[in-house]
Amino acid sequence: MSDKGIRIEGLKKRYGEGDTAVEALKHVDMQVAPGEVVGLIGPSGSGKSTLLKGLGAVIDPTAGRMVLGDDVIYDNGWKVHDLRALRRDKIGFVFQAPYLIPFLDVTDNIALLPMLAGVPNAKARAMALELLIALDVQHRAGAMPSQLSGGEQQRVAIARGLVNRPPVILADEPTAPLDSERAMAVIRILNEMADRFETAIIVVTHDEKIIPTFKRIYHIRDGVTHEEKGEGRAFA
């Protein structure tokens, strides 16, 4: 397995101090290679969301090490200085609900990220359009989010997650609001994008329909991850 992508070793997260302390993550080891899509599953309260927030650089782990591509993000209390820029440039997010910015059209929802990174507007919009074509929603480029179907919104959200070519994408229940057909379409798209852009994708899900599609799955239970081989079924 490649050294790039994302690698997590012994990640821990504790909330609070003393008797009231809660150990949300006790020991997390993960590695996802570029181009790979893995599933992260576990029951409610198992630590999925905490892990996702740690991977998304919005909470600081108590201990452990996280390496993104060639960059060390956390190392036992040490962390990268500018987490905001890290999130913008190195991590893509796809949420359960698309959470598109309602007052920006489809193109600008995607182009906003490169614009925030200082890319000129025209070039950022060209990058967005390229992804819209790849995701087959280019005909909705000028539409507002409220004018899109649920599946279209989710594809736009995926495009937004990919636009800065991050080494890793965190997808939080991306198929939850979709029917089976659209859910499978989203997973197919994520796999295609991972393959095309050499992106490591971690999909947090409860969705029984899509779990068999992963080749590797991380189970998390009581704050500890266990890796297992997935079925890797072809998409319906």
Binding site: K48, S49, T50, L52, K53, G56, V58, I59, R84, A85, L86, R87, R88, D89, F93, F95, Q96, Y99, I101, P102, F103, L104, D108, A111, L112, L113, M115, L116, A117, N121, M144, R160, D172, E173
Partner: protein, 400 residues
Amino acid sequence: MISLAGRDILQSWGKFVFTGFGLGLLIGVTLTMAGVYRGMVDDARVLLDNSAADLWVVQKDTLGPYAESSSVYDDLWRSIVAMPGVARAANVTYLTMQVRQGNRDVRAMVTGIVGGTANSPGWPPQLVAGRQITRGHYEAVADVAAGFELGDHIQIRRNHFTVVGLTRRMVSSSGDPMIFIPLKDAQEAQFLKDNDAILAQRRRSSENPAFNRPGVPGLLDAVLDSQTSNNYVNAILVQLKPGYLAQEVATPIERWKRLEVYDRVAMEEILVGKLIATSSRQIGMFLVILAVVSAAIVAFIIYTLTMDKIREIAVLKLIGTRNRTIAGMILQQALALGLIGFVVGKIAATFAAPVFPKYVLLIPFDSIAGFFAVMLICVLASIVAIRMALKVDPAEAIGG
């Protein structure tokens, strides 16, 4: 970089315009209040300008004739006009009262003027219709704000007058329209009692033993005569000869005639600094209250608009948007709201001003100052929303 604030406003322009319209009406009231104060000051200045006087000679130790009651003998003007530096001097009386016309009455400042020419002290400088007073009695020139027309018959005390001329912007410092009548009639209106009162006074005087002394047979008649005569005016308006300073003419009058003399600067200070000072403080308080209410409304609206976007703000922060970009978006929206409100308010005040019964003067300085005050209020009002937005945890965008 695209303007997030601009896009949000375009997306929900109806909400912004409607809210801005409501805010604008409040700003319009604020601008109008400022205009009311400016109008009061302007009324005071116009009163002084239109009196065509360089000096006001009034009763000693009074601030007359506008701010306090003042009575001086009506023959004093002869000695004053003979003093060095005096070009013209004229008696004048002022009495604010209800002037009747048929079944209606109008509050007006009745001004008694002596015969002369259009540029005589105290005369209305120009007419918009009709002619100046040419007869010694029972003619009137009225400001159009009184609502009278040429040929109207009006009643002042027990006498009737015919309106022979109309003038404009001749108002008292309180904004009441002025009505000019011959001095003798004005003296009678101001100082003479009605017939019943005169009879009662004569009876009381004739029964007073002090006026019926056997050794002074003509005393009672002299006293009665003095009681029914009206040889007082409120002030003498003085115009200076070219080359004379107000103070060098005023000082001898004060010294030798034992009177109070005010020049234009002093009289303006009395009118603006004393007569309408309380009103201006009152309006100032209203302006402060309106500013605070406006700030509270803008703060509440911006806070609500920001609360509606909490999830979007969390997403923006999660994907790496700088805090200053988010703060700038909220600030720009507050300023846009203020701008819409100011434009609506300015238009509303401009259209509403002529409808007010008293003069409302909207000056560009107040509009410019008002604009910057609104912008400042919007900046301050957005602080609460900005603080809240900056506290939003990007983790809120991630489920769980």
